[in-house]
C-alpha cells in the first residue's frame, strides 16, 4: 500500500483568517511565543502498490486538477509506504 500525503496551504500573501483566529486563541491562552499560524488542509490518498514515479505524476495531476485551487493555494506532497 502506498499513501500520498498532500499538504495544502494558502498562498503566501493571502490573508488567512482561520490562522489569525487560531493565533488569537493561542495567545489568549498564554502561548505568546507563537509568531504566526497558517491553517491548511491535509489529504491522505491510499493506493495499492504500484510504480512510484508514475504515481507521483498522477498525484501531482490530481492536486492541480481538483485537490487545490491554484489561484489561492499551494501544495506539496510525499508518498510513503503504508
Amino acid at each position: 500500500m502506498l499513501i500520498a500525503k498532500v499538504y495544502i496551504t494558502l498562498k503566501k500573501g493571502i490573508l488567512d483568517p482561520q490562522g489569525k483566529a487560531v493565533k488569537g486563541a493561542l495567545h489568549s491562552l498564554g502561548y505568546e511565543e507563537v509568531k504566526e499560524v497558517r491553517v491548511g488542509k491535509y489529504i491522505e490518498l491510499t493506493f495499492e502498490d504500484g510504480d512510484l514515479s508514475l504515481l507521483k505524476d498522477k498525484v501531482d495531476e490530481m492536486c492541480k486538477r481538483i485537490l487545490t485551487n491554484p489561484i489561492i493555494e499551494d501544495y506539496t506532497f510525499e508518498i510513503v509506504e503504508g
Binding site: I14, L15, P17, Q18, A21, L67, N69, I71, I72
Partner: protein
C-alpha cells in the same frame, strides 16, 4: 424565452431560482439534472446556490466536473446569458469561466442577512434596469463569499469594467468589496448575493427583479 436551472447534487436554491423566474418574471423555466450534456434548447442558464457535493473540499470544486459543465462552457462561448448565484458563482470560478476564487468569510461564520449592494456596471445585460452607483438591497447567505483576485487580475477586471456589484460595507473580506463579476465577453455573471430571493413583495423585497428583469429585456432585444 426559456431558463434552465441546473441541479447539482446538493443544490438547494434551485427552487428559489425556479420560482423567481416562473412567478417573478413569468417566464418559462425547467430544472436540468447535472448529468445533462446538451443545453442548446435553453436561452438562459442559471447555476443556483446551495452546497453542491456538500461544498466538501472547496465550494464548487467537485461540481465543476459535472457533465453539464461542458455544456455550460459551450453555451457560454456561444454568448448565451449565464448567471451563477452564490454556489453557482463558486462553481463558475472553479471552472475558470470567471476570474478569481471565493474563500471562507473573513469572520469565519456563515452570514445570512439582507445587505446594500452598489451597482458598478450598468451596461451588462444583467444590469440595464439599474444605474451605475445605484444602491439596492439583496439577501446574502454564504459561508465562503470572500472574493479573491490577485492584483494583476484586479487591474484587468477594472480595465475591462468586469466588476458589476460591490457590497456597500465590508461584509466578508472580499477584495475591494466585490460582490459580483462578469466575464470579458459580458455574458457570464457570477454574484454572491441572491437576486432570486428578492422577487416577491410578500417577502419584503423585489430588488432582485432589476437583475433578472434586465436579462429578459436584453434577450428580447436579441442578446449579446
Amino acid at each position: 424565452m426559456k431558463f434552465a436551472v441546473i441541479v447539482f447534487p446538493g443544490s438547494n436554491c434551485d427552487v428559489d431560482c425556479y420560482y423567481a423566474v416562473k412567478d417573478g418574471l413569468g417566464e418559462e423555466v425547467e430544472y436540468v439534472w447535472h448529468q445533462e450534456k446538451n443545453l442548446s434548447k435553453y436561452d438562459v442558464i442559471m447555476l443556483p446556490g446551495g452546497f453542491s457535493y456538500g461544498d466538501y473540499l472547496r465550494a464548487g470544486a467537485i461540481a465543476r466536473f459535472s457533465p453539464v459543465m461542458e455544456a455550460v462552457r459551450e453555451e457560454a462561448e456561444k454568448g448565451k446569458f449565464i448567471i451563477g448565484i452564490c454556489n453557482g458563482f463558486q462553481i463558475l470560478t472553479e471552472a475558470g469561466l470567471l476570474p478569481g476564487a471565493l474563500r471562507k468569510n473573513e469572520g469565519l461564520k456563515f452570514i445570512c442577512k439582507t445587505v446594500s449592494i452598489i451597482v458598478e456596471n450598468d451596461e451588462t445585460p444583467f444590469t440595464t434596469r439599474l444605474k451605475k452607483g445605484q444602491e439596492i438591497l439583496l439577501p446574502i447567505a454564504h459561508g465562503e463569499g470572500n472574493y479573491y483576485v490577485d492584483d494583476k487580475t484586479l487591474k484587468e477586471l477594472k480595465e475591462n469594467n468586469q466588476i458589476v456589484f460591490r457590497y456597500k460595507e465590508n461584509i466578508n473580506g472580499s477584495v475591494e468589496r466585490i460582490a459580483g463579476v462578469i466575464n470579458k465577453k459580458g455574458n457570464v455573471l457570477g454574484m454572491m448575493p441572491h437576486p432570486e430571493r428578492a422577487y416577491d413583495s410578500l417577502l419584503g423585497n423585489t430588488d432582485g427583479l432589476y437583475i433578472l428583469g434586465s436579462i429578459v429585456d436584453n434577450f428580447v432585444k436579441g442578446g449579446v
